[in-house]
Each structure stands twice: as C-alpha cells, then as structure tokens.
C-alpha cells in the first residue's frame, strides 16, 4: 500500500511561528528523506512541538513554506491531512472513553462503517497488547498503555508520515523500549517518522538523521555519528580515593588527553571531554591510556566511566551554554 518511498517526505523552508513577542519557531529548514526516522532534538520550549504542529496542519505558519510529499501544508492542508497522522505530547485520545471506543471512533472517522471500524479497533488493540484493557476507560490506563493506544490510533489508516511528539517523555524504561520497537516496525513498513525528543540517546537509537533545535532555530543537522563527532567522542569521569591528589590528576589528564579537565563540585571527581571523532574509535583507547598513567603515578581511582556525549554536551558544544529548559511555549 505505501509505495516504496523515495525522495523527500517533508521539506520545510524558513518556517516561522510567533506567539506575541515570542518567536517560537524562527526560520526552520528541514529536509526529511522518505522512509526514515528523522529526529528533532532540543530542550523543552525550543520550538519542537510548534514546528511539528505546523507540519501536521494544526498551526498556520507566520512565515516560510513546507510541503509533505509535495503538498503545501497551508494551500493543500486537506491533502496533507490525508497523508499524516500525529501523536501529540499529551495523549491524543479521549480519556473518558474506553480504548476500544477510541479506536472505533477514529476508524469510523477515516471512513470505516461501524462493524468494520469495530473489527479494525479489535485487531489494533490485539497488536498493541491492549485487548485486555479494551473495555476500560483510558484515564485508568498506565502511561505506557496510553502511549501505545495513542500510537495505535495514529496508524488506524497507515500514514505516510507519522509525527511523534516526545513519544517517550515520562515513560518508564520498559515502556520506552516498547515504543522504540514499535517505531522501528512502523518505519520498516515504509512510513516516514518525524520524532521530537529531548534525549540524544533516543534520537541516536532511532533516527537516521537529527536536527538539533534551540530557540526556534536549527543549530546543527546530520547523522547521529556526525553530530556526536562534532561534540567530541564523549567524556571520561574519574573519582579518586583521595581529594588531595586531584590537582596532580588534573595535570596528568590534561597532559595525556590534551583537553581541558573540569573539576566537579565533588572534591574527588574530575571530568575530561575527549576530543577526536567516533570514527577513529579513539575514546576508549585514550581513556585506557589515562587510567594507566594515573595508576603509574600512584593515584588511586575508585570509580571510572566513559560517557557518551549527552544532550547537555551537544548543547554546550553547539551553543556554549547548557541545555536549560527555555521559557515554555505552546
């Protein structure tokens, strides 16, 4: 049914949305290849939700243009609506109704007659492991179940583009993994997924390309590998046994790794951001060398870890400031 996707699913140029004085989206360009997961990464209030809402025809842009499979999101909104579906940040299902009623309602709204709508609802509930909860009101669902119902509601009619706005925010790790698996299966069937997230980790696991958004602008774009390379390979965290050896350890690390070493508030802890790219696989090597040298100098290391670059570090690198939550906007 979804024919082999080629080219761009979404193309946006200079999208702008303002709310009063707040330029929530301030000139965003996006090019989302068809049939892939595209991650939009950024802190709360960066403009992710606003951007997605415009692409899903829920908000009218104040500037710029965007197309979904060639259809203009303003001029051909109805055609766009026929191709997309959206799972909002907050459950886009009716909490007063049961799971089965929600899906039956939406199945009727995509054009099924009542018996066919019921059947479609039943098979979706089954596939999403919600058959047992089918007759229960959604307000009694757990966060993970609600999210699954929400995604099920989005694929009643298999969309060509699925927008997932922070699909795992607030979920426990198991539910998060379930959502990840579901996303992979959906993309495997040819649907293009545009996913917003606050977690680099999530974008890294799912997306083939990522746009980093801050203050309504795209500040970086690329594959997860490219992005991480731009921030360095990660960080080495070290905890010493004795605080009085820290100055010595700092000098040593600085010399071996030739990067700046940060002294943590904890008097025995240090962090060094590694340079180099992921591709030359230098991170582990550099860290091992650092450990060896510390041991050789007789400095006892109690704890050690090699961390992936976090969203915070991506932000530090890209904006020279931490990814603090910006002013909340709608």
């Amino acid at each position: 049914m979804v024919s082999e996707p080629t080219g761009l699913a979404i193309e946006a140029t200079g999208l702008v949305k303002t709310f009063g004085d707040n330029r929530a989206v301030d000139g965003i360009d996006l090019a989302v290849p068809a049939g892939t997961v595209y991650g939009v990464l950024g802190p709360n209030g960066a403009g992710k939700t606003t951007a997605v809402k415009m692409l899903a025809t829920l908000l009218r842009p104040d500037g710029g243009t965007a197309t979904v499979f060639g259809h203009d999101i303003v001029g051909e909104a109805d055609k766009v609506r026929g191709k997309v579906s959206m799972t909002g940040q907050y459950a886009s299902v009716d909490e007063d109704l049961t799971g089965a009623e929600n899906l039956t309602l939406l199945a009727r709204l995509v054009g099924h007659r009542k018996p066919a709508a019921r059947a479609r609802a039943a098979e979706l509930l089954e596939a999403f492991g919600l058959t047992e909860a089918a007759g229960r009101q959604v307000k009694k669902y757990s966060g993970g179940m609600r999210r699954r119902l929400d995604i099920a509601a989005s694929i009643i009619k298999t969309p060509q583009v699925l927008f997932l706005d922070e699909p795992t925010t607030g979920l426990d790790p198991r539910s998060r993994n379930q959502v990840w698996d579901i996303v992979r299966i959906i993309v495997g069937q040819g649907t293009t997924v545009l996913l917003t997230t606050q977690y680099l980790d999530e974008a890294d696991h799912l997306a083939s390309r990522i746009a980093v958004i801050d203050h309504g602008k795209v500040i970086a774009e690329g594959t997860p590998g490219e992005l991480k390379a731009s921030v360095g390979a990660g960080s080495v965290h070290v905890r010493l046994r004795h605080a009085d050896r820290r100055a010595e350890a700092e000098q040593l690390l600085n010399k071996i790794l030739s990067v700046e070493v940060r002294l943590e508030p904890d008097p025995v802890a240090l962090t060094a951001r590694l340079s180099g790219t992921v591709s030359d696989a230098g991170a582990a090597e550099q860290a091992a060398k650092a450990l060896t040298e510390l041991a050789a100098a007789g400095i006892t290391v109690d704890d050690f870890s090699l961390g992936q670059p976090s969203l915070d570090e991506v932000f530090m690198a890209l904006t020279d400031r931490p990814a603090t939550t910006q002013e909340e906007s709608r």
């Binding site: 049914m1 109704l97 709204l109 757990s142 009643i156």
Partner: protein, 280 residues
C-alpha cells in the same frame, strides 16, 4: 478504579502482528459529512454513558425551575397556578432547554485543552463534523430536558390543547432552535480561554435573553421600551411558537420568525465557529 492504574501484562511488540495490522491500513473512502458527524454524535453519547452525572442539569434543574416559577408566580400573575401552568409551562420548557445549551460551550472549551482535539483536527474529514457532533449529543440532552418538564407538567395539571402532535411539534421546534442557538456557544467555547469565562459570558447572555422575554409574564405588563426589546428577542418568538403549538393556537408568524432566527444563528455563528476552529 479500585485497583491500580497499571495492571500491565508484559507486552512485547511483535513485528509480524504489527506489520500485518499496518499492511491492512488501506483507507476506505473518506467518510461523508453525515457519517463523520454521526461518529462524533456517537462520541457525545458515549460520554453521557460514561459520565451520566452530566444529565443532572437536564433533569434536576428543569424540575426545580418548573416548580419554583409555577408556585412562586402562578397565583400572583394568573390568579391560579392551574391557569398559569397553561401559559408558563411551555415557556419554562423553552427557558430550561435554552439555558442548557451553554454546556455546549463548556464541553468545547474543556475539549480543546486536550490532545484529542488536535487529533480530530488532523483528520481529513468535513471540518464542522466535530462541532456538529457535539450538537447532536446535545440535541439528545434537550430532548431529555423536554420530556422531564412535560411529564412533571402533566402531573401538575398541564393539559395541552394541542394534543400529542402539538406537544411533539413544540418540542421539535425547540430542539431545532436550540441546535441553532448552540453555535453561539461553540464560538465562545473556541474563543474564550477558560471554562470560567465561558460560564460568565453564558450567564450574561442567557439571563437577559430568557427573562426579558414573554416566557414568565405577558409583555403587555411591561414598560414600552422593554416591550421593544422583548418583541425582537428571538426567544420570545420561540416561546410563542412552542406555546402556540402545544396549546393549539399557533400564530404562523411566530413560527416564521423562529425559523428565520435559527437560520441566522447557524449562518452567523456557524461561520464564526469554523473560522476560529480552522485558525486555532
């Protein structure tokens, strides 16, 4: 409700079953305007089923109004409550039902705050369908209120001259007018920011709208300037039509004015509602 919210069995997304479900997602032809509206009407009925308390305002409130006004004003205005009932009961019916229309605005307003509203708006369906759906559910509520009042009226001694047909026709006219009038509330529901402000505006419209009419007292007893307002108030014409139909002495002009008022309400506030809905 008594058990926990998270009685979740270990679910593992299965590639085969999910893929199978996705492969069957071939959309049927898009639903007609009527089918989409009916689906939303069904949603409204399900909400009544799950939250039956909301019917309180279409049962208890009308009973209270009928008893209060009949016994409070009946003796003073018409000499006896029996005679007054013939005049006032159709009016009370109009007043109660028109007052319950404001819940449409509240329902719209509370719904927009929720994510489900966004989902409806991304569906390629006839745009007014969600709004019409609310109103279809509300038409059921109006009918409930009407039946409640009529049953109570009959018990109290109301004997409509117009017979069963006249009574049914009266209720029909009232439900149609209320459907039209509700578009005012869908507009305010979309326009105003909070439930409280919707409530406030509703009261500002409904109190003068229903009291400054011929519902409770004959306009002849009012000062001239007030009679002027009362005679252009559409609710006066609705009350006169319902009263005429039920008591078997209908003035066709009243029915015509009711029809015109309904059409104007739908055209004006329906258009404004849809503009707001599309812009939201």
């Amino acid at each position: 409700m008594t058990t926990t919210t998270a009685t979740e069995p270990g679910y593992v997304p299965a590639s085969e079953s999910l893929s199978a479900v996705l492969a069957k997602g071939e959309p049927p032809p898009r639903p007609s305007a009527l089918a989409a509206s009916m689906a939303f009407g069904w949603r409204a009925m399900l909400k009544i089923k799950h939250v039956p308390e909301q019917l309180f305002d279409v049962t208890a409130f009308p009973i209270m109004m009928t008893l209060m006004f009949t016994y409070l004003l009946g003796g003073a205005l018409a000499g006896s409550t029996g005679e007054y009932l013939t005049y006032v009961l159709p009016g009370i019916l109009v007043m109660s039902v028109v007052m319950t229309t404001m819940y449409t605005g509240l329902a719209v307003n509370t719904d927009i705050e929720k994510g489900v509203f966004d989902r409806f708006r991304t569906l390629p369906i006839w745009r007014p369908a969600p709004m019409v759906g609310y109103l279809l559910g509300d038409a059921f509520r109006y009918t409930m209120a009407s039946v409640t009042i009529l049953v109570l009226g009959l018990i109290m001694g109301f004997r409509p001259e117009g017979g069963i047909l006249g009574v049914l026709a009266g209720v029909g006219v009232l439900v149609v007018f209320s459907f039209a009038f509700s578009w005012l509330w869908t507009m305010f529901g979309l326009l105003l920011r909070s439930e409280k402000s919707v409530m406030g505006v509703s009261m500002m419209v409904l109190f003068p709208g229903t009291f400054l009419s011929n519902i409770l007292v004959m306009p002849e007893t009012m000062p001239g300037w007030l009679q002027g307002f009362v005679s252009v108030n559409p609710i006066t014409h609705v009350a006169a039509s319902v009263r005429g139909l039920m008591n078997g002495n209908l003035d066709p002009a009243e029915l015509m004015w009711t029809g015109i008022a309904s059409a104007v309400l739908i055209v004006v506030f329906g258009t404004l509602t849809m503009r707001l809905y599309n812009r939201k």
